[in-house]
């Protein structure tokens, strides 16, 4: 039996998609708040001209978190002509006139967005606010009390980034299958991160960083029948990530990680990250590469799955030995056995 079957089971267990019921509930909450945002921004003089979902849900790379939490990234866009020079103003409007009125005690203005937590529903919504000038977007950067030097409308390209991640024009032959394999690989890597790093470090290994690195290093793999081989694809992609130049060696076997956004503002996704984060990321990625190679070399299906469960956690299936008559060597008999007559009561 092919290992791909188990990867598919694992993928089904961890993926979060727009069609999932749990996500639909989250979206209803989100829609309701977004409607209030529209009203509040209209009253404030900078009406919302568009809103859209950004982030992993929009690029088909979202996973269910082990904690059960959901994240939604809801971009709110206002027209440049109406936007206040002080980019923090609309963030305060969103926070005070919408979220706090709705009873969010913990609505927060963070540097790139405003966040709201539905604690009872494990739902976490981020609202990045953009102003739009023609086709150009600028993101409101700054915390609540940021002075002029610490706040700005910063060039951004949220739609371009999404298109870049979903782009399949460079894939030769069965491009859709390759994009689908890429989506699988990103989800595997994100679950691996959640599994292998402490919560604090995992939070610093940003999903967008993993996604960009995997996209740039993606090495698709399909067998001669055109069926995906996610194990080989993941191994070669991880190997490429290790030598791509994201990890810069520092003194004492330490590493600094950096990866740049492929779109505006072209910033380092890991800007400000510590050598501890970089070193752990690099070393654990290297261990992952070794484990994947072990899994490829292992011939026994159950042993293969055990190695992969060690890497990805309990959502990776390990078949029961006795459930698996097809892979066990069977005794061969010299005769079929005698039925004769039988009776019972």
């Amino acid at each position: 039996m092919s290992i791909q079957k188990h990867f598919n089971t694992f993928h089904d267990a961890i993926k979060l998609s727009k069609q999932d019921d749990a996500y639909k509930t989250a979206r209803e909450r989100d829609d309701s708040i977004t409607n209030d945002v529209r009203n509040a921004f209209k009253d404030a003089g900078y009406p919302v001209i568009e809103d859209f979902i950004q982030g992993s849900i929009s690029t088909d790379t979202a996973i269910l978190k082990k904690s059960g939490d959901f994240d939604i990234d809801r971009a709110i866009v206002i027209d440049c002509d109406n936007a206040p020079d002080n980019c923090v103003k609309p963030k305060i409007t969103l926070c005070e006139n919408v979220l706090e009125k709705r009873g969010f005690q913990n609505a927060k203005i963070k540097k790139p967005c405003v966040t709201a937590d539905y604690k009872s529903e494990n739902l976490h919504i981020d609202f990045p606010i953009y102003r739009k000038n023609g086709a150009e977007y600028e993101l409101a950067i700054g915390k609540r009390n940021a002075d002029e030097s610490n706040r700005k409308w910063e060039e951004a390209d949220p739609r371009g980034l999404k298109d870049w991640i979903k782009d399949k024009s460079s894939y030769i032959g069965s491009a859709s299958d390759k994009l689908s394999q890429f989506n699988h690989l990103v989800r595997y890597l994100k679950r691996w991160r959640d599994e292998k790093f402490s919560e604090g470090v995992a939070a610093k290994i940003h999903s967008i960083g993993i996604t960009v690195m995997a996209k740039q290093c993606f090495s698709p793999s399909f067998d001669s029948d055109g069926k995906p081989d996610d194990l080989i694809a993941l191994k070669t992609t991880v190997s490429a990530m290790l030598i791509h130049g994201y990890f810069t060696a520092k003194a004492n076997s330490q590493y600094q990680v950096s990866a740049f956004l492929p779109k505006k503002p072209w910033r380092d996704i890991f800007d400000g990250s510590s050598v501890n984060t970089g070193t752990q990321f690099r070393n654990k990625l290297s261990t992952l590469e070794g484990k994947l190679q072990d899994a490829i070399s292992e011939t026994d299906e159950i042993e293969k799955c055990k190695i992969l469960r060690e890497v990805f956690g309990d959502d990776f299936p390990v078949p029961e030995k006795s459930n698996n008559s097809a892979s066990t060597r069977k005794a061969i008999f010299s005769s079929s056995g005698a039925v004769g007559t039988s009776q019972g009561a």
Binding site: K330, A331, I332, V339, S342, G344, A345
Partner: protein
């Protein structure tokens, strides 16, 4: 019963029963007052070291068999033919693994006639591990012969 495979164990032996076989047993339970006993043979395979067995298919009554509500007589040659066919098609791994029949009781226990018959089956197949299944209206019981007589296998939950 019937949604997925079931594994029964006793000592060093396990018997894995396919969900298809479980579904047939479920459908043949003697639920109604007029239902006759149902029965057949068990066909399956085992691992090289003979610690794991798999029920791959089962037969059900054929025209020349006989049964009442409380007894059955398995004598139709089609049971043997089914076993022989499976044996050939599997390249020698699928064999006769025993018999099954129903009882109109919740948790079935073998009668003396059942045990005598099972001993006769074992006698006809020296050196082979056989399994005997009784399908009650609530539970399925699997028995094997041990040095203590016939012992039931424990279903893994």
């Amino acid at each position: 019963m019937g949604d997925e495979n079931a594994i029964f164990k006793n000592g060093g032996i396990s018997l894995n029963i396919s969900k298809d076989a479980l579904a047939v047993w479920k459908n043949h339970r003697q639920i109604n007052a007029k239902d006759h006993e149902k029965f057949g043979v068990i066909i399956g395979s085992c691992s090289e070291i003979k610690d794991e067995y798999w029920v791959e298919s089962i037969t059900t009554p054929f025209p020349n068999d006989r049964s009442t509500r409380y007894s059955f007589l398995l004598r139709d040659r089609n049971h043997q033919k089914a076993v022989d066919l499976a044996f050939v098609e599997s390249g020698g791994t699928s064999i006769y693994l025993g018999t099954w029949h129903t009882h109109p009781e919740l948790i079935p226990t073998p009668s003396l006639i059942d045990k005598m018959d099972w001993l006769s089956c074992i006698g006809k197949n020296p050196g082979r591990q056989l399994f005997f299944v009784i399908v009650g209206t609530k539970e399925i019981r699997v028995f094997v012969r041990t040095s203590f007589g016939f012992t039931k296998l424990i279903m893994e939950s």
